[in-house]
């Protein structure tokens, strides 16, 4: 099923979730989706609906308040799916790592495929991260099709 893998790589729909980020990384994510970078030419669409998304973009450190929401969103995404964490806070907890209300990195709550560090991560880095995630998605796709 080569066609299926190609189609999956050509149409990654993105869900963006902010779990307590300072909005620095979110602005950069939105910058990557603007006409200047034009992510839609690769079929990337910011879909906003977990049931229809293929890639989950998370920013900010996970905390006790939003871990259920994050887990819920992840569980609602059908396979094959990939998770990208954008920004140092999401990767490790960043400057919030020893706050009592913060769990640390997003990988404490859900499995993460790609880490994009930076404070804030640049749009170019984010696009690089999505390309890496697509490789993961391709591997998962091949596994699902039994090749």
């Amino acid at each position: 099923m080569k066609l299926m893998t190609t189609a999956r790589l050509k149409s990654p729909w993105v869900l963006h979730f902010d779990c307590g980020s300072c909005n620095g990384c979110d602005i950069e994510i939105l910058a990557a989706l603007t006409p200047k970078f034009d992510a839609e030419r690769f079929g990337i669409v910011n879909i906003g609906d977990p049931k229809q998304a293929d890639i989950l973009l998370v920013t900010g450190p996970a905390n006790h308040r939003n871990k259920e929401v994050l887990k819920n969103l992840y569980d609602q995404m059908p396979d094959p799916k990939a998770v990208i964490v954008v920004g140092t806070c999401g990767c490790t907890g960043g400057i919030f790592h020893n706050c009592p209300n913060v769990l640390g990195g997003v990988d404490n709550v859900i499995p993460v495929d790609v880490y994009v560090p930076g404070c804030a991560a640049r749009p170019e880095q984010i696009v690089d991260g999505v390309v890496l995630a697509l490789q993961k998605l391709a591997e998962m796709s091949e596994k699902m099709e039994g090749n």
Binding site: A7, S11, E40, R41, G43, G48, Q52, P78, S141
Partner: protein
């Protein structure tokens, strides 16, 4: 003999088979043109087909047991309407079949607890309230002019409908914008999730059910384009040109207008649409067909 075989069987069959693909291509072209209007590159024209294949391959995630049936129903009823239109059947019955497809979509939207989906369903009902009367009045205008509801009689009628009922053609613009889910009237759920209802009526669909709904939407666009082509049935190339003109105006409108609320949508169609089409109706009835 060969000529009637061509027009009665081969061309309708060809239209039925390519209608979904044609609709998909139109959506792809639409995304490309929209991107160019916003000075972007835009996705390839075949992008909707990649989306379709990808959605088909996603793991199933159903919000209720009836969802697949309703998604299939949505596509099947629209496809039936296309078949009836292609074989030049009763226009009224064709439009009622199309309405059944929308009923499937709305029932499916209400078939979950998601507030986005429920509100999307309600707005889809309001969209129907806005465009269904216009389509019915169009069918009635055609009946007044040609003397029957049969699409076949539009073809045998002496002159193009556009010259007799131009207002009905103008009103199709409203119908097309609402049905293509384009701004300013994309209240129920737009193609891209850039609205307050996430994906509105489509929120609960995912994987292959969303793929079926997309396929149905493409087919519906092809159906309405086919319906608009009837306004110059004597030379279908001109008819297709007429429908492409309205399609292009819809894309321009999508790019220059913000979303308006449902009240404006219903008010526009019930005042502007009704007045236009009824005035035309009166002129044709009183003065006779010119």
């Amino acid at each position: 003999m060969v000529n009637t075989l061509l027009t009665d069987y081969v061309l309708p069959l060809a239209f039925i088979i390519v209608a979904p693909l044609l609709g998909g291509l139109l959506v792809g072209l639409d995304r490309k043109i929209t991107a160019r209007m916003q000075s972007r590159m835009g996705p390839p024209i075949t992008q909707p087909f990649y989306d379709f294949i990808k959605l088909w391959g996603k793991a199933p995630f159903l919000s209720s047991r009836f969802q697949p049936m309703l998604a299939v129903g949505y596509f099947v009823f629209i496809f039936t309407a296309v078949i009836m239109l292609a074989f030049k059947q009763d226009l009224l019955l064709t439009l009622f079949t199309l309405t059944l497809a929308d009923v499937c979509l709305i029932v499916s939207a209400y078939n979950s607890k998601s507030p986005y989906s429920n509100l999307g369903g309600r707005r889809e009902l309001l969209s129907m309230l806005a465009y269904e009367p216009l389509m019915l009045l169009t069918a009635i205008s055609i009946q007044v002019v040609t003397g029957s509801f049969l699409v076949r009689d539009v073809f045998t009628y002496g002159k193009p409908l556009l010259l007799v009922i131009p207002a009905a053609y103008a009103v199709q613009q409203l119908v097309l914008i609402i049905d293509m889910k384009k701004s300013p009237f994309d209240v129920a759920g737009s193609g891209h999730a850039h609205q307050e209802l996430v994906r509105g009526v489509y929120t609960e669909f995912s994987g292959y059910t969303l793929a079926l709904v997309e396929l149905g939407h493409w087919t519906k666009i092809a159906f309405i384009m086919g319906l608009i082509s009837l306004f110059w049935a004597q030379n279908l190339l001109i008819g297709v040109g007429l429908s492409l003109l309205l399609w292009f105006i819809s894309i321009v409108a999508d790019n220059i207008y913000p979303r308006l609320n449902w009240e404006t949508m219903v008010r526009t169609s019930w005042t502007l649409g009704f007045i236009l089409i009824l005035a035309n109706f009166v002129v044709v009835t009183i003065l006779g067909v010119i």
